[in-house]
């Protein structure tokens, strides 16, 4: 077991090496959130959000972008990477080697998590320094929320590969699932509480990840750990895990 953990650590290391050498992937999941943050923060300048107790736009965006970034490196990145590796035959080759499959996938997941941590630190530091965002009130709550969110979206990323037929379709399908949810979940602009869209968004984990992360930053929140949000994410994560466990494919389909 100790050896397996050491092996897992090494796999994460190799995936990291590979990740940073691929400008496209690194660019998409790393640079993109920061770019979005800068653009939105600049266009909305010094506006305040009345509905959320007159906090500044940037105070809203930073947590939203933290959540967005983590979803990008877990859900989007993992789903596309795994599909590509499956279609290219890399997963098949790994299956023929004695490395336990969970360690290989663990390496990919670990890579996403490392990138997610870096990205989170960068976005928060940027928010504090450039926009004077208040430091998350409850770091522990933030860590727990981000960890649960990351786990949920990793599982969802693996689950979604089971419905992606081939590598060409991967980015399209993944983004088709992801972007509408991002929009209605208030990632790019705050959405009003009682609206229909919000109710729809409330079914999915994206909305809960955003509100959960926001709560950890929110200067007005009573409690910075939102159990309800966590529960929804755990639920989706568990279902995704079941789907992935049942239907995950290691080889390109031949049909």
């Amino acid at each position: 077991m100790k050896n397996d953990l050491e092996l897992l650590g090494r796999q994460v290391g190799w995936e990291q090496r590979s990740y940073w050498r691929n400008p496209a992937a690194a660019g998409f999941s790393f640079v993109f959130p920061i770019l979005i943050m800068v653009i939105f923060a600049t266009t909305n300048g010094n506006g305040k959000i009345a509905e959320l107790g007159n906090i500044s736009y940037t105070q809203y965006y930073i947590p939203a972008i933290v959540a967005f970034g983590i979803m990008g490196v877990t859900f989007t990145n993992l789903a596309i990477t795994v599909t590509f590796k499956r279609e290219a035959g890399t997963l098949k080759r790994v299956r023929g080697a004695p490395l336990p499959s969970w360690i290989y996938l663990g390496g990919l997941i670990g890579n996403s998590i490392v990138v997610g941590i870096l990205l989170t630190a960068l976005v928060i530091a940027f928010g504090i320094i450039a926009y004077g965002v208040s430091i998350p009130g409850n770091i522990a709550a933030l860590v727990v929320t981000l960890a649960v969110g990351a786990a949920c979206f990793c599982a969802m990323g693996l689950a979604v590969t089971t419905v992606v037929p081939n590598a060409d379709a991967a980015p399209a399908i993944v983004n088709l699932v992801f972007f509408p949810l991002l929009f209605i979940s208030g990632t790019f602009f705050p959405i009003s509480k009682g609206s229909v869209l919000t109710k729809i968004a409330g079914v999915f984990p994206v909305r809960h990840f955003i509100t959960g992360t926001f709560a950890a930053f929110d200067p007005h929140a009573h409690s910075s750990l939102r159990g309800g949000d966590l529960l929804v994410m755990v639920g989706w994560g568990a279902v995704a895990m079941l789907v992935a466990n049942r239907r995950f494919r290691w080889e390109a389909s031949t049909t």
Partner: protein, 330 residues
């Protein structure tokens, strides 16, 4: 000698297509066994069942005493796999992917040795996406060897190699068996099977149509010898002292005989007496390729398993085909 691979009554269906229709064979430890057959014959299917990738429909299979369907770590530690299709970890280098693999196996080979063995020294720091097709295949071979396996599966390992790389990989494979390793190899190249294999099985349409040493395959060592030459001016087939058959495709005549020495003596004696020269005189035994074409049927018709029909067509068109295939191979 222990048995490395034992296969009995193996069958595999894909839906309604029966790709392997009851195949039985075994491979001894230290042996190089070649599966030879046309496209779609079932070679990859058999190999991937042995590797644990596919489930068999019927029959028993033992690989190093284990059932590959159980997919055990212990079995995977002892086998090396070179798949028919290549794949890359595009952003890592040759050295890095091999180094990575050394952590996966309990008893790996030395990275530098393996790189040298497959002749990729110059590319050791190259990212995999920059490798040429043939270099990629050499890396595939390296990846199959890095775990220091006892049993190696090679599915068309030299397809896409230039002739010198092919020779070089033959040396590698021969070295492997001198180390006591067992090799199961599939190939389309007759010379490869001839050169490497202790035993060859020809598969066509999911069944073995012949099995034996490369020299004896299909009764090659007992088959008729062909004496060929062009007719000198003014001579017809009927003037010859022994029965001969004109071969329109090659534009010459053929004498098929079990006693080539006597036949040659009569023929040349007859010619010398008449002060005739026999242009293009040659004596050949059927090559493994001839035997293969006869056994496997028309190589462009993947499903041909009807040996008698195949024999008839080969008689008529065999010569040109052999020539084409030889050109393509060189």
């Amino acid at each position: 000698m222990a048995v490395a691979v034992a296969v009995d009554g193996l069958r595999k269906s894909y839906g309604t297509v029966e790709a392997v229709k009851g195949v039985t064979f075994s491979i001894e430890e230290g042996e190089v066994f070649a599966l030879l057959g046309p496209n779609g014959a079932g070679k990859t299917t058999i190999v991937e069942i042995l590797e644990g990738y596919r489930k068999r429909s019927a029959g028993t299979v033992e690989v190093l005493g284990m059932d590959p369907e159980k997919s055990s770590r212990r079995l995977k530690e002892r086998i090396g796999i070179v798949l028919q299709e290549s794949t890359t970890e595009p952003y890592l280098t040759v050295e890095e992917v091999l180094r990575q693999r050394t952590y996966w196996y309990p008893n790996p080979s030395n990275v530098d040795d393996v790189i040298a063995l497959v002749g990729l020294e110059e590319k050791r720091r190259a990212r995999l996406r920059t490798l040429s097709g043939g270099q990629q295949r050499r890396l595939d071979l390296a990846l199959g060897l890095i775990g220091n396996p006892d049993l190696i599966f090679l599915d068309e390992p030299t397809t896409g190699f230039d002739p010198s790389a092919r020779r070089a990989s033959w040396v590698i494979i021969r070295n492997l068996c001198s180390l006591g390793k067992t090799v199961l190899l599939t190939t389309h190249y007759m010379d490869e099977a001839q050169h490497l294999a202790n035993r060859v099985a020809v598969i066509s349409g999911g069944v073995f149509v012949a099995e034996g040493t490369p020299d004896s395959l299909g009764g090659r060592n007992q088959a008729a010898v062909h004496i060929r030459f062009s007719l000198p001016d003014g001579i017809t087939v009927h003037d010859l002292p022994i029965p001969a058959r004109p071969d329109a495709a090659a534009g010459d005549v053929v004498i098929e005989t079990q006693e080539p020495t006597a036949a040659l003596a009569r023929l040349t004696g007859w010619a010398v007496e008449r002060r005739l020269e026999l242009p293009g005189l040659s004596v050949t035994r059927p090559t493994l390729e001839d035997v293969y074409l006869e056994l496997a049927g028309d190589p462009t018709d993947g499903a041909a398993a009807d040996t008698t029909k195949a024999t008839a067509t080969t008689k008529a068109t065999g010569t040109t085909k052999v020539t084409d295939a030889t050109k393509a191979a060189s």
